[in-house]
């Protein structure tokens, strides 16, 4: 398998060309490392494209009309597998594992925080810093401060306002008594180390 980062845009363009050849259009919203790379926020390797939602027509509407992405449309699944073969990528290089977040709730501002890029029949919605900071903060809490999510969060150098907004949403994601304290500790860690980056 090849590493995705170097061929991310050509691979997405290839999916879009296949969809266009089938006269199909699909709009999906992505988060994670692929978004960080495509937005130029962080230059690190990424193994997959995390799809958190599908968007309905009209693409580009604010707020976006979002829906859980499972199952991905058949034409998109065929295109993903074909591009995986042609670019030597993992079969699930575009996947919906992150879509589990729908069961707990998405950041409420997410439908307003999307930048769209078009690759033929594929519309890719890239979530903005506000959403990325919130999702990265939440993901970092599940792992150590040395995890890729915590490192991404530090690399984003979130402002105090961004951290406060993210923390306010993250604390709603877990009802355990200790959770708010963990959020506070992670926010303090980020505040302390972000300037070192």
């Amino acid at each position: 398998m090849k590493e995705l980062t170097g061929v991310l845009e050509p691979a997405l363009a290839a999916v879009g060309e296949l969809l266009a050849a089938d006269d199909v259009e699909v709009a999906l919203v992505v988060v994670g490392g692929a978004t960080l790379n495509l937005l130029g926020l962080i230059d690190r390797t990424t193994q997959d494209v995390d799809v958190i939602a599908l968007a309905s027509d009209p693409v580009g509407a604010v707020p976006a009309l979002l829906a859980p992405p499972d199952p991905l449309p058949d034409a998109l699944q065929r295109a993903i597998h074909r591009v995986a073969r042609d670019f030597e990528l993992a079969p699930d290089w575009i996947n919906t594992a992150i879509a589990r977040q729908w069961s707990q709730g998405l950041p409420p501002w997410l439908p307003h925080d999307i930048t769209w890029r078009r690759y033929g029949g594929l519309h890719v919605g890239l979530v903005g810093r506000r959403t990325l900071v919130a999702l990265k903060l939440f993901a970092a809490l599940d792992q150590s401060v040395r995890s890729v999510h915590a490192q991404d969060l530090l690399a984003l150098k979130p402002s105090d306002a961004e951290l406060d907004e993210a923390a306010a949403w993250v604390v709603t994601q877990d009802a355990s008594d200790s959770f708010p304290r963990l959020v506070t500790e992670m926010v303090e860690h980020v505040r302390e180390h972000r300037r070192d980056r």
Partner: protein, 311 residues
């Protein structure tokens, strides 16, 4: 810069046209200008099918097909034609159906089922009748044996093994080469071995061979083993060339990547053709995305060169 889809397809069409004209000329078809006599054994059904596949761009082939329908259709296997037809592009069917219609009209009723698909569309022949087929040149071996022993798996196995010049082949290899089922090949080979027409090895799986010297007198010393070329798996190669031509028509207006991914499909489907004939074409896994168009262009050129050298 990738070669254009049109250029790739035209290389395949040119190679295909050259091959069929040369093979038909050797068989005595009413053609002129075919360059160089072939040396390898002609696969009659593969020749028919490739001719049917490219007749839209080689209109004079209808004259040849019409000539063959009236003089040589009885030397063809309808079953083998039907089996191999599945490996060719769908556009081949109309040409085969028109050929079958001409054969039925000439009195060979075995072609009636295939003729039904013609919808009455006949070959656009100018009525050139030509002479009787030439069956004695060594590349016509398979047709010659069919003329002598009847159309069927046994004549074809004997032809393939004679063309191999004493080398042995397993049932699996013979089934691949002949397009008959392994069961039919196995049964025929066992009976031919019992009749001492061919020999079997004591290895497992058993392999069969012939002693070409035993057949030399009957073939007037003109067996393919003497001509140096022998058997080539033309059916698989001809099907590939026909598909590349069809691919060129279908993919003319698509993006380079979409053309490249369908080219990869063609490679995967026809990989056994390259392996059977030992043609070392580029591996698509070495090219990323649309870059494979260059590899595919090289593949088609190598197949074309192989055909030129092995026909």
């Amino acid at each position: 810069m990738s070669e254009s889809i049109d250029v790739i397809a035209s290389v395949a069409r040119s190679a295909a046209a050259d091959a069929v004209w040369r093979q038909w000329a050797l068989l005595g078809a009413p053609v002129t200008g075919a360059s160089g006599a072939p040396r390898s054994v002609i696969d009659p059904e593969a020749l028919l099918l490739l001719s049917a596949a490219i007749r839209a761009s080689e209109r004079r082939l209808d004259d040849v097909l019409n000539w063959w329908a009236t003089t040589g259709s009885t030397l063809l296997s309808v079953q083998r034609t039907t089996t191999l037809l599945r490996r060719f592009p769908p556009s081949t069917r109309s040409g085969v159906a028109s050929f079958a219609l001409a054969a039925v009209e000439a009195g060979d009723n075995r072609w009636r089922t295939l003729a039904r698909a013609s919808g009455g569309a006949s070959l656009a022949s100018r009525g050139k009748r030509g002479r009787e087929p030439r069956l004695t040149p060594s590349p016509a071996l398979m047709l010659r044996l069919r003329a002598g022993f009847g159309v069927g798996v046994k004549a074809d196995l004997l032809g393939i093994l004679l063309a191999m010049g004493g080398s042995d082949a397993t049932v699996r290899n013979l089934a691949q080469a002949s397009a008959y089922t392994p069961a039919a090949v196995r049964r025929a080979a066992q009976e031919m071995e019992a009749a001492a027409f061919i020999r079997g090895t004591h290895s497992r799986p058993v392999a069969y061979y012939v002693d070409p010297a035993r057949w030399t007198a009957m073939l007037d010393g003109s067996g393919p083993a003497d001509s140096g070329q022998g058997w080539r798996n033309f059916a698989q190669i001809f099907a590939f060339l026909a598909w590349v031509g069809a691919w060129g028509d279908d993919q003319r207006d698509v993006s380079a990547y979409v053309a490249s991914t369908t080219a990869r499909d063609l490679y995967e489907t026809h990989r056994p053709a390259f392996e059977l004939n030992r043609i070392p074409v580029p591996d698509p896994a070495r090219s990323t995305g649309a870059a494979y168009l260059d590899g595919f262009a090289a593949t088609v050129r190598m197949v074309s060169d192989w055909l030129e050298a092995n026909l």
